[in-house]
Symmetry: D2
Subunit: 351 residues, 4 copies
């Protein structure tokens, strides 16, 4: 059993980490921290976990990096950006491995970090060491990593559908449009008027237009895949569901198609490309036939599902993906990286 | 008082027409028809209207075109496509004016109708006579019309934001992408598993990809505006709200912009263009400052609100619109056309 | 036109008052106050009202009782309890009539106020002067009132169904149970974790058990109706809808019934009793036949609907009511009292 | 591994059985039947299970009792009442053990069955043999049973809170009131207008008043517990959540209490009673301190949580319970009985 701790465990990602790690066959949850909840048991803070014996004895404590580095082999950070990077330094110095769910270690450039997050990076020297925790893409690097930057929810929903196509040269790297809808848990457990039930229910609205922070990591990763600088268009919308992200991608095939034969030929290439990339991936499901993604089919799981359509009228390729923003988009993916990092079965604790 | 009737009044659009016409200062609702509800009062079928005296006496009847043409000066059709066109013929022959909420008279070409609706048009000779009932665009033609084809819900959310820009030549007519989210009332009051509460709640999903029927009327109208054949990309999604459509449009400005000065100059032109088009329109609200559309601000009203942003990173123009799919997207707009057609104040019964 | 003002207009009740009074045929809204929103127009704070010309010019101001008393003939208070009473004193001294939507003037006893609201009443000398603003019950007193205490949302849903039965002696005054479900707007527009979308959606929970504050005014009013001290059981629940209260009342008929004949005879008396009470009331709808209340049939209206059933198996009478907690349960009822107070048609601005 | 089959696996209870049995450590799912889905794989019908290898190979078949009795040791019936009893006969004759989720074998009296279900019982001779599958109450009898009648969703939410109190004589058996709210999945996966998203969302309504079918089994079981005939009042309401039942029970303590001391003494007895009944039950959680049940804390689990309050103002005891209507209220409980019946750990496959 690997000893693990969660820092900042009272938010939605933290709560999901608690659920996953309490039930993980190879992890022992030795500490959970939260300034507001310190002193309370996990069962008191999250009554839904009260049936788990460990939840009735494990108490939230104040975060203390030095102590945590001694107690735990792997520490998950579910903290706001900025705070996470500061907290990671003493943990790493103390010998713990760190899986950070914030945006702090996702970029290689401190300058771009500052452009998108509006403050200096607290630990720029760590940026080169961190590994972007998307196992389907960076599995080998995750294995030996000391510091993992777990991807954002929107980026996951955009990167997994586009990576194979870009690498295979099937789509043009420029002109990509990603239109996303997210459930309200994406905004975090924060007492703000905008996220009250009455403000979100019976409402749908765009936000963060046109320069959402997640663009920075999406473009860095796509640039990596394409081998050329990629700039994309990304529009997030808030919809009244608890969980789930649905992303519709508008892509330009590298090869022009106009006739039915050309479309069929291109379609065959796309099918092969996705097959090669994902047929053996436990957490990516490429839909077949008439099926289209639906968040209700992935909520509560670590699976991202996707479907694609060629549109002969416009010459575009549409790819649609669905995921649970808190599982594959956050805590589930972090546990998946944990499994890879520690050499466990990649699906351990995730099915 | 103008005598009006509603054919097919038991669906969501029909119900909203009942609400609007019961309270209209210049309309007398003389008949409502529904095969299933014949014999019942409006108050029995729609308890929410029971406080209105007329709702307690007016009874649903079986549809009878000849009789309706004698009883009513204007007949609203809230019937499925195909059925509506058949029903319109005897009404028009009987001297009634017709406002059809179905898709039957929205296109000029019977061939395109057949391509998108998969059956022969029942009354192709009427296509040339019908007027597309978008008052902000076709007000003059609506005035004298005998037959109005009230626009679809998605088309309204796409056409009003794009028309002024296309006419002014500010955007390229090609490459338009419209990504839309609709509430479940858009599917109609039909007993189908897909629209059960449990199937829609906590779910978001695309559908009708990539060739939704509404493309036909959207492209015909945009072609009219642009003076050149327009093909667009359109992806509808179903989200768990009762009412409301949010559309995000991805547009290419005709003029390239890169510097801040160029963006400011182009932005000024767009602002002037929308100001000229909509400053005096009672039912189009161009948002200012940081405000973005939110369906909760328009649900229950005949208003479409829109906001736009230039994205200097991608060179695109984003326009987002919000409307109530059953009001501005259907019954409210039909009443607006009714007002124009009859010479009433255009806002009569709609505020 | 009567000049009116709203103090504390940025909450849900305040917002609904703005809507109703902007469109009221006999009211001129001269001032709206809110500490947080001072300086902004009504259209900026509530984009949904932006189509109303007055909303684009009227600006929120800091509350100033002396000034308001000079500007407005009638002032609506949508403030928290405690604060409302303090604010009412200078308004009344300045000659304004006051309609208070808080709990501050609903009770006659300052001691019971303290028991339930946990602080001394700020203006106990006014308790004797205030009139409980339930027009269906206290219409005559409302006419001449200077100070109206508009009833709470739960109390309205309980009092209107029980008053006629208690007065007619058809039910026993003891043993009444009221089980209620409320939409989340009942909690107010407050940035608290408990009312976040994710905390309320897909959740139902009781709260305020067993001694909710509204018991104080419910019991005072029922005691008045029964002529004997009444204590009731009341359990509120929070459900994931924006608006609406559904109350199910468990009542003991004064007369025992066991046979079908006895049930029919008692049923006839109940029907006559409700008929006498409400047949001419524009805002109470007694359902007939198999119909049962449904909040969706009253949301957005000032109507309370109710239905009743005798249960021969248990000897009980069940009465179920539905209302919009923000309209008939708050702002609509306040406007109804305003109409009565000023001698306008009682339905003015409410249909 | 015990071979199991599910008959009628395309509804909500059937779907949940599929989920639980696919992942059960001691069960091998050998057959799933559905007339409409015959020929399709489980993965095609329920995309959310597509990651499970067995779901991609197991195909729905037409129901055939003789064949199923040979293939499976235990057969779960998720069929409508009436149909279930007919299907059970050949299964039992063929040697299979049967766990029926319908109401067909829950009552001992064919006459009461007919009174509540409006048709003759198809197999009255089996009523004496069936065991009511509430493990917390009938565990011993379940062990050896050939035929288990799994309890209804509402009955479970009412019986578990009341059984211990009735048996201990702490409450009077008469005058019990149960007020319940259920999510829409309780209505089943049926294409009916009443359960469309738009008809349920933003709505709350009572139904089945005052004589819901579940009364029959609730009263039979309570009569058993009390040793005297029990008649209760039960009012179900439909609320817009997918899953979850919240029941509030109004009970009369056998012993009158008025002073604080008497309340404390009675409270201690109740606490001891629940402690004795449920401290060792893995699926019943008695909340402590200020906590009240919330369906969101039990949805997706087989746990029922409850809390109680004495009300010194009225002399009543309130007990509130929350459960997932499809898990503890249906399929989870059926699997719990399956575990008991087969001698597995009672929690196998349920945590």
């Amino acid at each position: 059993m690997t000893k693990v701790a969660i820092v900042g465990a009272s938010g939605y990602s933290g709560e999901e980490l608690v659920r996953l790690l309490l039930n993980h066959p190879h992890a022992e949850l030795v500490a959970v921290t939260s300034r507001q909840q310190a002193g309370q048991t996990v069962a008191q803070v999250f009554p839904k976990f009260a049936s788990h014996p460990r939840a009735r004895t494990l108490r939230f404590v104040e975060p203390n990096a030095e102590l945590l580095a001694r107690q735990a082999e792997v520490v998950f950070l579910a903290l706001p950006h900025g705070v996470a990077a500061e907290f990671a330094v003493p943990l790493l110095n103390g010998g713990a491995r760190v899986i950070d769910l914030s945006a702090d270690f996702r970029l290689k450039s401190a300058a771009i970090y500052k452009e998108f997050y509006a403050h200096d990076h607290p630990a720029p020297e760590l940026l080169a060491k961190s590994v972007y925790g998307l196992p389907e893409v960076h599995r080998a690097a995750i294995k030996g990593a000391q510091l993992i930057a777990s991807p954002g929810c929107y980026p996951t929903s955009i990167l997994l559908p586009t990576f194979p196509l870009l690498r295979a040269g099937l789509i043009k790297p420029q002109g990509i449009i990603a239109d996303s809808m997210s459930g309200v848990s994406g905004a975090g457990r924060k007492a703000e008027l905008d996220y009250l039930f009455v403000e979100c229910n019976e409402s749908v609205r765009p936000y963060g237009v046109p320069k959402h922070r997640h663009l920075s990591e999406i473009e860095e990763q796509l640039t990596l895949a394409a081998g050329t600088a990629v700039t994309i268009q990304f529009t997030p919308h808030l919809i009244p569901v608890n969980r789930g992200i649905l992303t519709t991608l508008y892509l330009a095939p590298a090869k022009h198609f106009a006739t039915a034969d050309e479309a069929a030929a291109l379609g065959a290439q796309i099918a092969v490309c996705y097959q090669a990339a994902y047929a053996n991936e436990p957490f990516v499901r490429v839909l077949e036939g008439k099926a289209l993604p639906d968040t209700k089919n992935v909520v509560g799981t670590n699976v991202l599902e996707l479907a694609w359509r060629l549109d002969p009228r416009t010459g575009r390729l549409l790819v649609m993906s669905a995921e649970d923003n808190i599982v594959k988009g956050a805590s589930g993916q972090a546990v998946q990286s944990f499994n890879v990092m520690c050499g466990f079965a990649e699906t351990a604790g995730l099915f």
